[in-house]
Symmetry: C2
Subunit: 478 residues, 2 copies
């Protein structure tokens, strides 16, 4: 590395929060504005979101869902129709009380989520079993009035997709809920290279108005957990509140069973905190807006620029490629594109041209390879796959290394005093124990995993010692 | 046509407004909700918007623009920074005054447009001539507090893209403004088959805060005009208000010159009113979510369904195709997909199978063709092109037939009493005349066209008779 050009960012191990802020600003993902708690998503950050959106939208459509668009504003009376839902969301919504010069007779909230709007619409379009299932999704912005905010991770406004579906039976709704969690899990693991634990939220942590909430939980570099996506089985609670019923095949009137599921811009924060390093962002090739950056060396020398642009043209069929032929020194450019997490760098100078070769540098390992032009396309494809796989494995190994089992409360506390990460421990199912654990250690229940390998050879709650009911992943979380 | 199955919608010539409402609801483009003035965009309506968005997004990126995302909420103090802008927009914004349980010390408006947010951001990222131009775009929802609303045409909330750019010189900004209007015009004419008049808005009709506003104007079936897209040359007004300056090559400090341009969901309303007929929607093939609908005839007969599904598979490589093998009678299905404006219908029954042929029916002309399987792919491609061209030509001929010239105020009034459409007439440039014309006839100035063919052999203002300065298109408008 050309040390003299390294832009200063805080080291991860020194101050992880400051490192994160440095990366999101210096990699030009976001900018702050005078709007408290909101962020400007800059071109590079938005290009990442567009790639995620495109992949997820394709998966959502492949599983038979259709996109729709619901209103931004919700009348207060509509939000109040489902009791648990309004209790959960009322403290964190933004209220519109004035339209132009007119004082409104009823307040409108900016959607924090759209269950009630979909509820009202389903009531209007579902009449017979023939109308089911309804499999809808929308891409939208939502607002939640958060006190403390951080770019991507927690913002007043964020972008997301929210799926909303209606089914004839509880079993179908259950299958849908799990299917969409699986879609999120595959997106995270295969595209974003983020390993996740799939499981169910406890009663305390579930969505306001849901019967069950399923979640995928990921572990960040600093050992804190991050909820990467959730899928809710809503049961018939909203159906009863909004009177969404249908005539079944046998002529009886039935309530529908519903689901909802969401995935947000927050995932960009997760990607940064899972893969990033002290030189900045590290992007998985499958999502990187630019997969390969060409840096001409000694570009004033005859033929270098022409040759570099020709390379760009040739490679652009196979890979998302760009070139920086600007006037900055190569060292500065290396640094800039490392900060931006571009998976591969290609260096080419007069000597390389002579020898019909280029140099490729991996962002994830720093490895430098001399590659002949004849082999180039093939080698680039191979390396991008290798980087994608390496990022996933590295993250998985990191998670394994930071996952501990605790058989007693003392053990639980000791682990968190000395380390961070997931703690696997048994739990009695009592919310009092969940609250005590949070109060004493700062850790919350992340999920009851689907594949509950009974690794812990105890059958007592880690907190109260009574008969345990659930195997739970705990962690401090974002 | 199988008359007995025809769903009743109001005839266009009987009550055009009611016809429009019938079409948007019965073609399942939208649904109403309890949110005043907003609409639910249903799957079929949203699929049309997604196709428009995809085409436009590609054109915007091809012309070198990058997508970003700005906050939804604007602090009142920020909105007030540009004097003309706030005057224009203050009467029609929605105000957030409460966040959660907290009463805000400063009101936030929901963006009616985002010039001030981009202004603040440009100030933060533009420092040197090397940072220019900045060519940004965002896809977003905006809110304007309209009193009277109609689906797509005028809604409290609508979806759009808004481009915002910064340039080193006035000439560059001017070129950009015209270039993006041209992008809109080509989208309308080549993709949506809507002919447009390109021109400049008068001072009275221009955007609040702009130096010039350019517009594309289209004519609906009922002879009213609709503004289909606008592009604003902002000059350095916002740059001065937000202090967006840069160091030029010669070391001097300069203000940037800006543009902004927007295209909205309103265009779907235009498409309906330009191409639709008494049987419902008529969609141009290039934008239709389904270009060809297969209707099996006597589908209980052996082999018909298998054959129909095979056809679908074969054709799906070349065309957006779907099949309706539901239990409704073919006549009902014909009617439903005519209502939905699907460009081509394919009928296939046992006899057709025997003879290795199918029947194709054009939505635009009703023409029925017997086509051999060997010729099918080729014929479908040919017909889709023919329909696209026919819709454009038909709309253009309709516009020509409804475009009149007026040399005197009496002539102007007489035309509008007996007919509707565009009136071409000379104007002195005085806002008093513009207002008088509006007051007396209901017509507003639509634009001063770019290619001002001097068709009118007079040189006096149509209103006051004084020396004319501009050739203007006038019309009653949506």
């Amino acid at each position: 590395m050309a040390k003299q050009y390294v832009q200063k960012i805080t080291a991860m191990d020194e101050d992880f929060a400051q490192w994160y802020t440095d990366v999101v600003t210096k990699a030009e993902l976001i900018d702050y504005s005078s709007v408290r708690g909101s962020m400007i998503i800059r071109p590079y950050g938005y290009a990442i979101w567009e790639n995620i959106k495109q992949e997820l939208d394709r998966k959502i459509k492949e599983t038979g869902h259709e996109n729709v668009y619901m209103p931004l504003l919700i009348p207060e009376s509509l939000l109040q129709k489902e009791k648990d839902h309004i209790e959960g969301f009322a403290p964190e919504v933004a209220w519109v009380t004035q339209g132009g010069t007119e004082q409104l007779t009823e307040r409108l909230c900016i959607r924090p989520t759209s269950e009630v709007l979909f509820g009202e619409h389903f009531k209007s379009v579902v009449h017979s079993y023939r109308d089911l299932p309804k499999l809808y999704n929308q891409w939208a912005n939502v607002v939640r009035w958060e006190k403390t905010t951080r770019p991507f991770l927690r913002t007043l406004e964020f972008l997301w997709q929210e799926g909303h579906t209606c089914h004839a039976t509880e079993e179908e709704a259950q299958a849908e809920t799990v299917k969409m969690l699986e879609v999120y899990a595959r997106l995270c693991e295969e595209v974003l290279a983020i390993p996740v634990i799939k499981g169910r939220k406890t009663e305390k942590e579930k969505f306001a108005g849901a019967k069950y909430t399923y979640t995928i939980e990921s572990l960040m570099h600093d050992g804190k957990a991050l909820q990467a996506g959730t899928s809710h089985h809503l049961g018939d609670g909203f159906a009863r509140a909004f009177d969404i019923h249908f005539t079944d095949k046998d002529g009886t009137l039935q309530y529908v069973h519903q689901t909802s599921w969401g995935f947000t811009t927050r995932i960009i924060g997760a990607m940064i905190m899972v893969h990033g390093d002290d030189r900045g962002l590290v992007l998985p090739p499958r999502i990187a807006p630019i997969q390969l950056m060409i840096i001409p060396i000694a570009q004033h020398k005859e033929g270098v620029l022409d040759f570099s642009y020709q390379l760009k043209d040739t490679l652009s069929e196979a890979v998302r490629v760009d070139i920086d032929a600007g006037s900055k020194k190569p060292g500065w450019k290396f640094n800039e594109y490392e900060m931006k997490g571009i998976p591969l760098r290609l260096e080419v100078g007069p000597k390389d041209m002579e020898q019909q070769q280029v140099i490729l540098v991996r962002r994830d390992t720093g490895e430098k390879l001399v590659v002949s032009l004849a082999q180039l396309k093939h080698k680039i494809a191979e390396l991008l796959t290798a980087i994608q796989n390496n990022l996933f494995l590295r993250a998985k190994n990191h998670r394994e290394a930071k996952t501990h089992s605790a058989a007693s409360f003392h053990e639980f506390e000791t682990i968190l005093e000395n380390s961070s990460g997931f703690i696997k421990a048994m739990w009695c199912g009592d919310v009092a124990c969940e609250e005590k654990i949070k109060e004493k250690t700062g850790a919350t229940s992340r999920c009851i995993p689907f594949d509950s390998e009974a690794e812990i050879a105890v059958n007592e709650c880690v907190c109260c010692g009574k008969q345990a009911k659930h195997f739970v992943y705990w962690a401090k979380a974002y």
